[in-house]
Every structure is written in structure tokens, then in C-alpha cells.
């Protein structure tokens, strides 16, 4: 392995002072970064270990829940407040990776994890995300796992996270620290579409640090479901996943939240379907109609064309579970 420097600042300022230098990378749980280093996808000169920053807390605030960027995926999934008030998030986290990985993986790292596209991981293959300008291997290649929404001719990779799908559905907000202080970004605006610059996964600047996320209070706890369709029952990335949350009163849907994973370069919110569901009675028909609405603009690239059918089926299925009809 290439030799690199490893530093371990104990203050946020200490981290911010060093991270904007080229070749510098933050390391949290290391479950993604170390793999990428082993495969030669990234080769930092300096690793900044942020595990000594006090960013592990999970606390209730008047407006909702605050989760520090270093809170472990397992700690969040098992936290009593999360289980009670934000079960969607707990379900999504538990659908991801393995217990061992969740015990190391952090919230910030999960958001920043990179695509699992096979062409991205193999340095001998073309990949615009890894090596801009080299082409997209997946576009006409092995793309069974790839995007059906928001892709570009440059890249059809998907963001692989489960947690992020739930956070997008729950209207979470990302809290980011930079040289000039803190800024807040809606979760749905954090990740980006590939466009002409697939090398950029999100809108975090090189000199910024994720410090936490906030989830606003909601009325979805009773009717939430995360459904992940995958090639094996555990420890596999989503073919399609759906985070569904309903606020139901007397059999009528007051508000709905829907987001999909495994279908785009970012967690994919289904705003049109959400709107269509508002005011509708809880019924399989409403769910199916919403699911169809969600598919506008979807596009298959060959091997992944099955997702055009699987995605609406999964949306309807997730809604059924959320509503208690399944």
C-alpha cells in the first residue's frame, strides 16, 4: 500500500485547518474509505481521523432529533428515541450492510460513501466518476444495479445508502461546518445528480465537515416502512428500496413521504406521488396509482430495465406495509 500520513486532531478547528489540502481525506469508520484505498480507487497522502471529535450524540431537541456525524449506524438504529419516533430510520439502517459494518460505520461516512458500481471499483475500467473523461463502463455494460432516474451519458451509478433514503424521506437537514462557520442544507439537496460532473457525489466542499443531521418532528411513526428488495436476504445492496411514511387519520392519508434507493445518483424523493397520496383513502388502488406516478421520467439502460417494473411494485408494497395492509 502507498505510504500516507495519519493525523488525529481533537478539535473541529484542527480538522478544518487541514482538510482542504489536496490529497487529504477524512476517515471516520473507515468501512468504505479503506476498501477504496485497498482497491487503488483513492490514494490519499494524508488521513484525518475525526473520531476524537465530540460528534457522537443522539439527542432530542424541541424541533426534533439531532444526530451527530460520528454516531454509529448501529447506535442510531438501536436508539430508543429513533425506534419510537423515527422507526423508518431504524428500519433503513438495519437493512444496510451487516452488524459488524454498522458497528463501525458513522452517519457522516454513510452519507459520503461512494457508489458500488463495479466499473468505479476496477481501476483498469473506464469510469467518469473515478477518472473523469475515461467513459462510463456501465452505460452499455453490466448495469443491472444502476440508475433509472436522473442518470446522464456520463454516469448511471447509484448512491448505495439505505440510511440516506430514510433521511431524505424524513426531510432531514444536514449541518455542515466550514471555515466560515456552519451552514444547513436540506438532505434532499445534499447529494447531486451526475450531469457532466459525476466525479462529484454531493455538494459538500473540500474544506467542509459534516457535523450532524437534524430530523424534524413528524406524525409518521405509526405508519412507516422501509422495504429493500435485494438479491439476498441480508448484506446486499438494494436493487430497489423504498422508504414510505404515512400520516393517516380516519383512513385518509394526510401526508405521505416517499423516497427510493438503488434508482438514482441520490436518494430519490417521489414528490409527485406524495402529493397524489395526500387526501386519498388508504387503499391498494391509491398506492398503485401513486407508484405509477412516481415512474415518470424513468429510463432503463438494458440490464436494469426490470427496475421500471420492480420500482412501482416495491413502492406499492412498501405503502401497503406502512399502512398496515400487508
Amino acid at each position: 500500500m502507498k505510504q500516507f500520513q495519519y493525523i488525529c486532531p481533537t478539535t473541529q478547528q484542527g480538522v478544518l485547518d487541514v482538510i482542504n489540502k489536496p490529497g487529504t481525506k477524512i476517515i471516520a469508520g473507515g468501512t468504505n474509505l479503506v476498501d477504496l484505498m485497498k482497491r487503488g480507487v483513492t490514494a490519499p497522502d494524508k488521513l484525518v481521523d475525526i473520531n476524537h471529535l465530540p460528534l457522537k450524540s443522539i439527542i432530542s431537541t424541541p424541533k426534533g432529533l439531532y444526530i451527530g456525524a460520528l454516531a454509529l449506524n448501529s447506535a442510531v438504529a438501536e436508539h430508543e428515541l429513533v425506534a419510537r419516533q423515527y422507526p423508518l430510520l431504524a428500519m433503513a439502517l438495519k437493512a444496510g450492510a451487516s452488524p459488524q459494518l454498522r458497528n463501525m460505520a458513522t452517519v457522516g461516512g454513510n452519507m459520503m460513501q461512494r457508489t458500488r458500481c463495479g466499473y468505479f471499483y476496477d481501476t483498469t475500467m473506464p469510469c467518469n466518476k473515478r477518472a473523469p473523461g475515461s467513459g462510463c463502463g456501465a452505460y452499455e455494460g453490466v448495469n443491472r444495479m444502476h440508475a433509472i432516474f436522473g442518470g446522464s451519458s456520463q454516469c448511471i451509478a447509484v448512491h448505495p445508502s439505505d440510511m440516506c433514503v430514510a433521511l431524505a424521506a424524513l426531510n432531514a437537514v444536514v449541518i455542515i461546518a466550514g471555515k466560515k462557520g456552519e451552514r444547513r442544507l436540506p438532505f434532499t439537496d445534499f447529494h447531486r445528480l451526475p450531469g457532466e460532473h459525476p466525479e462529484m457525489d454531493n455538494h459538500l466542499a473540500a474544506n467542509e465537515l459534516i457535523v450532524g443531521v437534524e430530523i424534524p418532528n413528524n406524525h409518521f411513526a405509526a405508519n412507516s416502512y422501509y422495504l429493500k428488495v435485494r438479491d439476498r436476504q441480508s448484506y446486499a445492496f438494494a436493487l430497489v428500496s423504498v422508504a414510505a411514511a404515512l400520516d393517516i387519520e380516519n383512513g385518509i392519508i394526510r401526508h405521505a413521504r416517499l423516497a427510493m434507493g438503488g434508482v438514482a445518483h441520490k436518494p430519490w424523493r417521489l414528490f409527485d406521488a406524495e402529493q397524489a397520496l395526500a387526501g386519498k383513502p388508504v387503499s391498494e388502488d391509491s398506492f398503485k396509482q401513486a407508484a405509477q406516478l412516481a415512474m415518470q421520467g424513468a429510463k432503463g439502460y438494458g440490464q436494469n430495465a426490470f427496475k421500471l417494473k420492480l420500482a412501482p411494485a416495491t413502492i406499492a408494497e412498501a405503502l401497503k406495509h406502512a399502512a398496515g395492509l400487508a
Partner: protein, 716 residues
Amino acid sequence: MKKEINLNMPSSSEGMSRIDGRLKVTGAAKYSAEYTVEGLTYGVLVGSTITKGTITAIDTKAAERAPGVIAVITHVNAIKVPGFQSEAGKPSAVRAQLKVFDDNKIVYNGQPVAVVIANTYERALYGASLVKTQYSKEQHETSLNASIGKGFPPHGDGLYKRGIQDAWKSAPYKVEQEYIVPTDTHNPMELHAIIAKWEADDKVTVWDKTQGVKATQHDIAQLFNIPVDNVQVNSKFVGGAFGSALRTWPHEVVALIAAKMVKRPVKLVLSRADMFTSVGHRPYTWQKIGIGATADGKLTGITHEAYGQTSTFENFTEGPVGVSQGLYACPNVNTKYNLVALNIGTPTWMRGPGEATGAFALESALDELSYLLKIDPIELRLRNYAETDPESGKPFSSKFLNEAYQMGADHIGWAERKPEPGTLKKDGLLVGYGIGCGMFGAYRSGATIKAKMTADGILLLQTAVSDIGPGTGTAMVLIAAEQMGIPAGNIRFENGASDLPQAPTQGGSATTASVGSAVHYACIELKEKFQKLTGNDSPKAIDYAQVLKQHNLPLLEVTTKSTAGDDRDKYAMNSWSVHFVKVLVNAATGVVKIDKVASVADSGHIISPKTARSQVVGGAIGGIGMALMEEAVMDHRYGRYINNNFADYHVAVNADIPQIDAQFVNKPDPYINPMGAKGMAEIALIGMAAAVANAVYNATGKRVRELPITPDKVMA
């Protein structure tokens, strides 16, 4: 000669745990890569990034200058391996294998083009990243489907026929379908690894992951043109292999070349990605079956064609069409087996080898026929039950497959099955039941055991055989305990080294039958020696320690060789299995959940119930993986595997595996060997994939003929 075997003979120490279990779970078991050898250096391979062509330049300077790097070896500077030079008189294993580092030709992607040797693994790894290779590319062929027109028979005309050619075509009820088994990889948990240490110019010791220390010993002797006795091969523990360590691979030769060149021992451990290209795989196989029957379900003809992958430099063959020749009493059978030579590493036997591939096709086709005939799949099998071997006409040495059907049907709850697909539901999911059978030759070959009783009352059994995980040592100890009438705890088993007495390679489900027979006879001989001493042939338990003390002897020992008798000429010998599977399917998403498995093995007398059960459970899990998720996916434009890691190449995990009900007919085969025990490792997997596919059909009405059965192929 028929042996009287007491049917009620209790398996000695019913349910004894593995003798090496504690060593394994505590980490004390030492695998090949874990030996400390003085002056050890570390090798990391550099693999070709093209699929076919030649190396035009290879720049090793940066790597050579990197810290800790001792040598960079390529075809340019590698010593010549004598076995690669002259073809005459060399066994084909040596003749045909990849002549690693011998020239600049590239014949598959991932082929080793260099090895970097350094004083630490990390430094070798970094060094390897600095080797820059330039190639001249040629058009490669990696897709079997695209090259199927270039199929050729591996031996003779590749054809088999009994009765009328293509008789199925004139049957009133018939099915003709194509089936695909993709490339699956063995990928045992333990990576392939070797430590090579030259003791002298013509003398070498290796610690190597191998299923056959003797075979490896001979290969190395041939390759380096040195006396067999000058090669010591140790393989004390093997962390799974499933067939991948049945032969000598390029990385082993590389380690031997490198150790010779740097004049220090070299350790070479493959990466997980190398495990996909360099140590074989289950070959992608395209099959077509035509099968016909009368209205009352009597098979009138089977035609079975199979085209399997091989490499461009070696013909790898297995037996996918054999099941169609022997599983059912059908008068007219013709089969065809062809290979397609592609730019890939050579495939190799993977658990249940060709039979598992063939059984997926045959047992699926038979299931399709059962729906056409509206005859219960078990009943259809019974109507075509082979009482004698359909191929040779010989009687079977033993066969209780019909009893196995009944046991399995009871355990899975077959009575709940609905003949009409898609009609049984539970909690919003579709429920389906499927059956699939397996058969595999019951082999036995020569083996030698040295048995030594010392004055402390401890019996030591020694033989070269590898134990790749089935619990060979445990079974051998149980056989000896039974014969000697002493507790298993007083018996030691030493194996996995080439200087121990001859034993076959562990493969083909033949170890217990072969080595176990040698243990059996060695114990009888040893007991006789004691009886001679005491002049007493009473069957009462002998106090061996006491006898040795009385005669002032430190020990008594025998070396006993056992070989298969001529019963093999008179009887057809097979092991059989039947797998029953119950699945739950979400019709909307296509997700298949295995709800229950009942697997029944008809493999003679069960010697070690616990490890036998593990074999069945492991085989069923391997079969579930094969059925639902395993597939090494290649991008044929590049000839590279896309999912060459354990996150993306899916093997079954705990959540995929339900309760597996492992049952045994447990009736001894009176002819195969003195214990009446037949092999069971292969049959535990053969037929399982079809059982799953058939259950999915019963649940959904969707017939998946191309494995694996992923949600996209099942969803409504």
C-alpha cells in the same frame, strides 16, 4: 463379496463432535499461510488487465526501487521451469497447464504477469501497484453463448446413445427446453495460499492449500524435475475448497519460481479478486433437454446436450449429461457433451461438479413434464424408478432412493403442496414446494494407514489425506474406535503431509470410503497382532496398554493398504439424494425466501452423524446459493469479472438459510467397503438448485431456466 453388516449397528459415539472443532473455533488450527518460516518474504501477483494478446513491455524499475522490494519477476527474467520445456513423457496435468512466466502470451484476464517479492506483504502490495505493463491486444472470446458454434467434443465424438436417437420427439407428452448454469466460483473462506521454501537446489518444502498433498508433491517434482521424495507438501488444515484445490495452479508455480530466485522462502496468498480468475470455477454451461413420456408417465426418451466452458490451453471436462444416462429407467437416451474454449482461466470441479449442472436441467425438465402430465413429481419419479443401472444393466450395490422420497416428503409436508401453481398463499405470499434429486458415483480408491498403539494406550493413525473441512479425521477416529473397542478420545489422527502413507486426493466424495476402509483393516490387523501376543482371540475388549506393558513393548504398529475389491465390476455403485424445498415468494417484488428444506441422503451407513449432517446442511446451503444468487458476472467487452469480491458476488448468508432438515436412509451398502459407507459431499448439493427452481414454479407459475433465480426473473 457381500459383507454382513448389522443394520442396527449404532454409530459409535453417536453425535461425536469434530476432533478438530476446538482448534478451529479458537484459531489454534494453523492454515498454510500461517506458518512462520525463517527469512520469509512475501509475494504479490500482478495480473494481466487484457484478456488476449502479448506483453510488449513491462516496466519493473519503479517497483524494484520501492522500499523493501527484493525482486520483481516476470517472463523476462524468470527461471525456466523444466516441466514447461519438454512435453515428452510429462503427464497432461503438467503439460497443459498455464506455463506461467514462460513467455509473453496472455490468454486470460488476471493471468499472472509479474510477482513482486518484498520483505513485508504491504511493501510487496505497493510494489505490485508500480509494475507497468504494455500489451498488444488481440480480439478475445469469453462468452460461451457467442462462441457456441465453436463447440468441440472433449473426447471421441462426445456422444452417448442407448436405444433410439431423439425418441422423446415422438412421445405424446414432451418438453424441450434450454437451461443455463452461469459461472460460479468456489470461493472458500480461506484464500489459496502457499509458502515455498527450497532446502537445496533440488529439495523443497511447501505449506500449501491443497486437497491432495501427494498429487501436489508429484506435480512439483515433475515441474521442477526433481525426485518426488525431495518434495515435502504440508496441508494440515484447509479452510474449505469445494474443488478449487484439486489441482496445482499457476500461483503455486510462481511461489516456487520466486523462492528459488530470491533464495529465500516466499509466501504467496491470493487476493479475493484472484480467487475469481486463477483457481478455477464451475464452468458456465448451456444445456438443452428434450424429454418425452407416455400418458401414464413412462419416460420414452431423453436427449440431453451440454456445452461447457473451458480455457484455450486446457480441456476441463466434467459430467453434466451423466444424470440423464443413469438417474431414470428410460429406454432411449442420447447425450452430447461439448466444450467451448474461451479466454478464461481453466474451470475446475466445483462441489457436485457436472452432475449438479446436469441435474438442474434434467430435474427441471422432469418437473415441467409432471405439470404437463398432471402427475405428482414424486409419483413420476417412482414410475421411472431405476431398479438396475440403466446404463450398464448391472444391479446396484444398494439403492434406497424410494425410501428417501418418502422420508423427504413427510419432512417437508408434501401433502400441503397444490398441483396448480400460484394457488397456495400464506400471509400474502405465494407458497410452493419443489423436489430435485441427485446422484453421484460412489467411488473408492487405494489408501494406506499406519496405525500405531503406544504403551500409554493411545492409538495414532497416519495418512497423507487432506481434510478440507468435512470432518475426515473425526470419521476416521470413529471407525477406529469401533474396531478397536477404545474411546475416541484415545485416538489421534495425523494427516495432510506428503511424507505420510499414501492416500487419495480429497475429492469426489471418496475419502471416507477409501481411507476409512484402510483404517478399518489396519485396526483389524493391529488387533490381530495383539491377539497373537496374548494368544487369546476372545472378542472381549483388549487392554492394549496392559498388553504392551506385560510384554515390555513400547508400541505395536501396522501399515495397511486397502484397495477397492472386484465387486465394483459386478455392481453399479452410486450415492443418491433427494431435496425438498418449500419457498415463500412475494409475487410483486419477486423475492424468494426459502422457508424449509428437507434433504435426504442415501449414502450407505452413516459413520459420523454430526459431520454427516454438516455435509448435508453445507450442500443444501451451497445449492441455495447456486439456485438463488451465485453468479460471477463478466463484462465480455473487457473479459473481466465485475463482481469479483464478497460484497457483490453473493453467497448465501444466514438470513437466506431456513431450518434444514437433514435425513439419512442410513442403510449400509454391502459391497462398497467394510463399513457400508458411501460418499455424500456431492449429492448434498446435486439436485438442490432444481428443487428450488421447481418450488418457485409451484409457487408462482414462473419457470426460471437460467440461474440464479434473482427477483427480476420472478417478479410478476
